[in-house]
C-alpha cells in the first residue's frame, strides 16, 4: 500500500536548529541553549511573506505533513490539511512545523542531556509555558529569515500558541487561525489533566522523573493518562457509534480482560502512546495547558489581554467538543471583536468531539481553504 497521497508533500526530512543564546523562561528558569527540530513544506517566496507556522497540540510534533523515506507509514499529523492543492496549499505557502521545546520528538526536552550535570534533565527540566514556546518559535523564525508570518495556525493547545503569537509578537503575524482552542482551561479540564498527571507521577517506574537512569519507563502511568485523555477527546455520540456495547466474545465472560470493544480501543491507544511518548513531556505539556490564561494579568479581562493584537483571526470550534467547547472559542471571538479586530468564527457541526479538528470534514476544510485563499502573501 502506498502511503503518499496524490496531494501529499511527499517525502520530508526534519531539520535541526541550534540556539546558543540563553532562554529566560516565564517560570523563572533559564535554558542556556537548546535545539529545535522542524520540518518545512513548500517554498519561501522572494519577499519571505508566505510563511505559515503550524503549532502542535499535546501529542503532536514537527511532522505535520508528508512521510519519511525510511518510514513511509509515518504520515504527518495534519497531512489532510497541508499539501499541494490542500486547504493550506504548499504551492502558495511555506509551511513550518516545529517540535516544541520540552518535547520528545527531537527538540530539547527532559530526555536531553542537561549540560550542567552531564545527565538527562528528567524532572529537573524547567517548566515551559505557551509563551515560552512562542518565544522559541520566534527565534526559529529569525533563524529562517522570516520577519512576519502570513499566518500562525493551531488546534487545541496549538491554538493557544497561535493566540499567544498575536499577543507576544503582534507585528510578526498577519493572521491567526485558532481551532478547537480556548483562552484558558476550565476547572474540569485542569481536573482531567491532573488525573492524567497523577497516573504518571504515582507509577513506581517514574522514579520522580528520573526513570531514564533507572532503565525504566512509567508506561502504566502514561497509558492511563492517554486513556483518560482519549475519552475526553471524543464525544459520547462518537464513542457510541464507533463501539456501542459491542462485546468481543458476543456475550459477557465475566473477566477483567477485554470484553467491551471500547476497552480494547482504549488499551490499544494507551499502549501505542506509552511506547512513543515521554512521561516528563506529558507532565510539562499538560501543565503548560493549565497555566495558559492571558487574561489573568488583566484581572480576568480577555478583551484587555487581546488589545495588543493586530492580526486578523479565524476561530473555529466543533459542536460536540466538550474538552475545548464552542463556548471557549466564543470567548476568544467576542474579546477580539470588542477590540475591533477582524475576526470570523465558524462552529462546525460534528459528532467527533475535540478530535474533529484533525479530521477532514468537508465544511470545516472549506472554511479553512477559503480563509487561506483570501490571504495575499
Amino acid at each position: 500500500m502506498t502511503m503518499v497521497q496524490p496531494q501529499s508533500v511527499g517525502i520530508v526530512t526534519p531539520r535541526r536548529a541550534v540556539f546558543d543564546e540563553p532562554l529566560r523562561l516565564k517560570s523563572g528558569g533559564v535554558l542556556p541553549s537548546y535545539e529545535l527540530v522542524y520540518e518545512t513544506y513548500g517554498e519561501l517566496n522572494a519577499d519571505r511573506s508566505n510563511a505559515v507556522l503550524v503549532c502542535h497540540a499535546l501529542s503532536g510534533s514537527h511532522h505535520v505533513a508528508g512521510t519519511y523515506a525510511d518510514d513511509p507509514g509515518n504520515v504527518g499529523w495534519w497531512d489532510n490539511l497541508v499539501g499541494p492543492g490542500k486547504p493550506l496549499d504548499t504551492r502558495r505557502f511555506f509551511v513550518i512545523g516545529v517540535n516544541n521545546l520540552g518535547g520528545c520528538f527531537g527538540s530539547t526536552g527532559p530526555a536531553s542531556i542537561n549540560p550542567a550535570t552531564g545527565r538527562r534533565w528528567g524532572a529537573d527540566f524547567p517548566f515551559i509555558t505557551v509563551e515560552d514556546w512562542v518565544a522559541t518559535q520566534a527565534r526559529l523564525a529569525d533563524h529562517l529569515g522570516i520577519e512576519r508570518f502570513a499566518a500562525v495556525v493551531g488546534g487545541s493547545l496549538g491554538g493557544m500558541q497561535a493566540i499567544s503569537w498575536a499577543m507576544q509578537f503582534p507585528e510578526r503575524v498577519a493572521n491567526v487561525a485558532a481551532i478547537a482552542s480556548a483562552p484558558k482551561l476550565t476547572a474540569q479540564n485542569i481536573a482531567f489533566n491532573e488525573v492524567a498527571r497523577q497516573a504518571i507521577l504515582t507509577d513506581p517506574d517514574f522514579h520522580g522523573g528520573h526513570f531514564y537512569e533507572h532503565g525504566t519507563v512509567p508506561a502504566r502511568g502514561l497509558r492511563l493518562a492517554r486513556m483518560i485523555g482519549h475519552i475526553t477527546y471524543l464525544s459520547d455520540d462518537s464513542l457510541d457509534r464507533k463501539f456501542g456495547r459491542s462485546l468481543r466474545h458476543g456475550r459477557a465472560i465475566y473477566s477483567y480482560d477485554v470484553e467491551f470493544e471500547i476497552e480494547s480501543y482504549l488499551r490499544y491507544q494507551g499502549d501505542k502512546f506509552s511506547k512513543v511518548f515521554d512521561a516528563n513531556t506529558y507532565l510539562l505539556t499538560t501543565k503548560a495547558l493549565d497555566y495558559f490564561d492571558p487574561a489573568f494579568e488583566h484581572g480576568g479581562d480577555l478583551t484587555a489581554a487581546l488589545a495588543r493584537t493586530t492580526a486578523d483571526f479565524l476561530v473555529v470550534s466543533f459542536s460536540t467538543d466538550w474538552r475545548f467547547a464552542p463556548e471557549r472559542s466564543r470567548e476568544i471571538v467576542y474579546a477580539l471583536l470588542h477590540n475591533g479586530r477582524n475576526v470570523s468564527y465558524a462552529e462546525i457541526e460534528s459528532s467527533a468531539g475535540h478530535d474533529a479538528f484533525l479530521l477532514a470534514d468537508a465544511h470545516y476544510h472549506a472554511v479553512l481553504r477559503s480563509y487561506f485563499e483570501r490571504m495575499r502573501p
Binding site: 479565524l314 466564543r330 471571538v333 467576542y334 471583536l337 470588542h338 475591533g340 477582524n342 475576526v343 470570523s344 468564527y345 465558524a346 462552529e347 462546525i348 457541526e349 465544511h363 472549506a366 472554511v367 477559503s370 480563509y371 485563499e373 483570501r374
Partner: protein, 200 residues
Amino acid sequence: MSPTYRYDFDVIAGWIAPGERVLDLGCGDGSLLRHLMEVRDVRGWGVENDPANIVACIDNGINVIQVDLEKGLADFQDGFFDHVIMSLSLQTIHNTLGILDEMLRVGHEAVVSFPNFGYRKHRESIAAGRMPVSESLPHQWFDTPNVRFFTIADFDVLCAQSGITVLDRLAFEDGRRVDDDPNLNASMAVYRLVRARQTA
C-alpha cells in the same frame, strides 16, 4: 440575498456615516457589508448561521460570526456598534421583539428591512385564496424561510408599543420609492430605528 434588493443597500448606505462600526444580522454572503465597506469604509461584522454563507463571507473577505439569532446577541457588548442591520431577515426570526431589543442594545441605531405582507399584490393573492408569491416573497408557503408575516402597519404598531422610535422609513415597490399609502403600495420597507428616550 437576491441582487434585486440593491436599492435596499443604497438606502442603508445613506443612513451610515463613514468609518462606522456596523453589525449585519443574517448577512448572507456578505454583499451588503462589502458594499458598505466600499462606499462608507465601515468596520463591518456579519452574523450568519448557515454554513454555506459562512464560507461565502470568508470568500468575500467579510468578517462573519456564526450565531443562532434565535438565541439573541448575549455575547455582544452594549452599544458597541453604530448601526445594527437586519436586511430582509426579520421575518425569518421567531423572537421578533427579542431581536429588536437586542439590536437596539448592542447598537445605537437599528436598520431593519422586511417584505410588506400588506402589499396590494399580496392582498389580491390572499383574496383569491392563495398565499402570495412575489418578488419580495419569493417562496412557496411550504418552503419559505419566513416564520412571521406582517405588514408595514403592523410593524409601526409594534414599534409604538415597544418604545422604539422610527427615525426614518422608506418604502419601495420593486425598487421604486413609494410615498402614497405604503402599506398598500409597497412590497418592502426599510426602517431606521432608535430606542425611544426614557422620560423622567
